[in-house]
């Protein structure tokens, strides 16, 4: 890490962390960076909780017989899904990294509406705590998808309270999206044109559009669910004149685009990491930028591929299948552009870059198996099997969580002013990569062989692959726990990082680490494109240094 460990830097005296003191100054803050830290802490706690539920699932599936009873198992996997999707994956990158970085990257003092930003954190906490209360009272057994008629008519669990929590958390998403869109339009520094925006900002912008256009639909769907469950209004129940498949339409109209709420910001992080650690401008900048928008828009036209076996019309199935294949195009544009960026780059393998490279490989597998699921005929065979579980974990964990961790490591020195120990960072990145593949690759095979999801028992011939999967999950857990320790350690003992420890481009590296409350002493004036790296000059300097060493 150039310059970081030499002790040449001093911690800035006044930063956003110490500008005001006391717990009240945090809980009533309008500073986007402090709100990002509030989110970081709460999201990490929820992630750990979701991890505990995941462990329960993997322990149960270690043997073919029942350790938990069926009812308990249903509640465990539902809790895992709800916590991970609504309380971790959806807010993770936008609310932590996006909140912290978006205003700095465009040269603004804060987001457009700081108080609305704080409101979004409170909505998130209220919704999260309500959902958590429902879990403590006994939980939900419907699966995270709340399919009717089970959720409306038969389930004896806390569907209403959980739904209320998700409804409220939805508004947290909407307010964040609103803030990001308006900030990107209105608060860019002089010279920060759209074609100079960092790709992370483009991806946050596309994500925010999905949040704004999609989230109201899940809110309304949850309200309709409650109206039927509590007041007996006929929406989804055929006896009352409703249709259960309508729920799936409405649910997936949001929840499929929600996948892009998770993956688009992750792609933005990866664009930054690849550029910084191969010292090259991102190949095909405008294609990468517009592919984010394309994914956001096409993402709204494909939800019916979740309904192939639901009794949906065969014609709608064919159209949804075709449309689903289209999303592969902008996704592939990104992957090819990242690999082309690496070509002839001056690559170095620091921790964030390990995560970025892991992302490319894992996302490729997650994306390509997505094509299996989009193929109408094949999907009938793999629907509701472990193949689907493996596919979406490759996208959500293998891509989103990996990118989130890569981003946290990359911007950690900016957020805290201190560097983490590189050796431990690399070790945990590699453990996570190995553990992840060992956990989820066997699940592709299990699913293809026909093991259904959401059952607590299975035939003995599936046990070997399940043991591999649980073993992988243990390695993965160790990999996830390690950063908790060394990142916390670095808060006190890490070497002082200085403003730009990676030698990266971008406005966030031009201000102090950690930044002052209003980010910049004077509004920056932007004269360069986002990735004004010069790989050839770097390489020449490196070769010259080598020559000097030989002499």
């Amino acid at each position: 890490m150039p310059g970081a460990a030499n002790g040449v830097f001093e911690m800035p005296k006044v930063t956003y962390l110490n500008a005001q003191e006391g717990i009240k100054s945090w809980l009533l803050t309008g500073d986007h960076k402090r709100i990002a830290i509030l989110y970081l802490i709460s999201i990490s706690i929820f992630f750990a909780l979701g991890g505990v539920f995941a462990s329960l699932i993997r322990i149960e599936l270690l043997t073919p017989g029942p350790e938990l009873d069926a009812e308990m198992y249903n509640r465990a996997f539902t809790a895992h899904g709800i916590v991970m999707v609504f309380m971790f994956l959806i807010p993770a990158i936008p609310a932590v990294l996006g909140n912290f970085l978006l205003p700095i990257m465009i040269g603004a003092r804060d987001l457009a509406f700081p108080k609305v930003n704080l409101l979004s954190w409170y909505l998130y906490m209220i919704g999260g705590l309500l959902t958590l209360t429902a879990m403590l009272m006994g939980g939900v057994d419907t699966g995270w998808t709340f399919y009717t008629p089970y959720s409306t008519t038969y389930s004896q669990s806390y569907v209403f309270l959980t739904g209320l929590g998700i409804f409220i958390m939805g508004f947290s998403s909407i307010t964040t999206g609103l803030n990001f869109v308006i900030t990107t339009h209105k608060m860019r520094a002089p010279g920060m044109t759209w074609s100079r925006l960092p790709l992370f900002v483009w991806s946050q912008y596309a994500t925010s559009l999905v949040m704004l256009l999609g989230t109201p639909v899940i809110a309304i769907t949850v309200v309709l669910l409650a109206a039927e469950r509590v007041f007996g209004v006929g929406i989804f129940n055929p006896n009352l004149g409703g249709d259960p498949v309508l729920f799936q339409h409405l649910f997936w109209f949001y929840s499929h685009p929600a996948v892009y709420i998770m993956i688009l910001p992750a792609m933005g992080v990866i664009s930054e990491l690849i550029a910084a650690f191969s010292r090259r401008r991102v190949f095909g900048y405008s294609f990468v930028a517009f592919s984010s928008l394309a994914i956001a828009i096409f993402g709204f036209l494909v939800w019916g591929h979740h309904l192939f076996v639901s009794g949906q019309s065969a014609y709608a199935g064919i159209i949804f299948s075709l449309l689903s294949f289209i999303v592969a195009i902008p996704s592939a544009v990104k992957v090819f552009n990242w690999t082309t960026t690496l070509y002839k780059g001056s690559i170095s393998y620091e921790t964030p870059m390990l995560y970025a490279l892991a992302f490319i490989g894992l996302f490729a597998i997650g994306g390509l198996t997505g094509l299996f699921c989009a193929a109408l005929g094949l999907d009938v065979h793999i629907t509701d099997t472990y193949f689907i579980i493996a596919h979406f974990h490759y996208v959500m964990v293998g891509s989103t969580v990996i990118a989130y961790l890569g981003g946290i490591h990359y911007w950690w020195p900016k957020m805290t002013g201190r560097s983490y120990p590189e050796f431990w960072g690399k070790l945990s990145a590699m453990l996570i990569y190995v553990g992840f593949n060992l956990t989820f690759f066997p699940q592709f095979i299990l699913g293809y062989l026909g093991m259904p999801r959401r059952y607590h028992v299975y035939p003995p011939e599936y046990q070997v692959l399940n043991i591999l999967s649980t073993a992988g999950a243990s390695v993965l857990a160790v990999g996830f726990l390690m950063p908790v320790f060394y990142l916390l350690w670095s808060l006190k003992y890490g070497p002082i990082a200085g403003p730009n420890p990676w030698g990266a481009k971008g406005l966030e590296w031009e201000t102090a680490s950690p930044p002052p409350t209003f980010n910049f002493d004077a509004t920056p004036i932007v004269t360069q494109e986002a990735y004004a790296y010069d790989a050839e000059a770097d390489e020449a300097a490196y070769q010259a240094a080598l020559q000097q060493d030989k002499r």
């Binding site: 309508l246 339409h249 036209l301 709608a316």
Partner: protein
């Protein structure tokens, strides 16, 4: 942007209009237009038209869309377009559900 000042009178007029439309909606609900005119589904068409009008009044006046920038119009329009996407594609399923594609004969 939000700089435009709207006289109170406008707000009261719009509010009154909304209340009148609400009364019309309730009234229509008691009439069987389908039977009276012979046009199937006329009740629902009229009810939704009134609802759409009310929505537009709220958006244009209470939410100041009428005096807003073109960019705001793009976003407002997008939300209606997205609603249309949801309705049209979902209905595409319902309308084509009874169709039979392949038979053995």
């Amino acid at each position: 942007m939000s700089g435009h000042i709207v006289p109170k009178k406008t707000y009261y007029t719009i509010f009154l209009l909304l209340m009148v439309l609400l009364a019309v909606t309730v009234l229509i609900a008691y009439l069987d237009l389908d039977h009276a005119t012979g046009i199937g589904g006329l009740n629902i068409i009229v009810a939704l038209s009134i609802a759409f009008t009310k929505m537009m009044l709220v958006v244009l006046y209470f939410m100041h869309m009428k005096w807003s920038s073109k960019l705001t119009w793009v976003f407002g329009g997008a939300s209606i377009l997205w609603l249309a996407i949801m309705l049209v594609i979902t209905l595409a399923d319902y309308f084509s559900r009874g169709w039979v594609m392949f038979t053995n004969r």
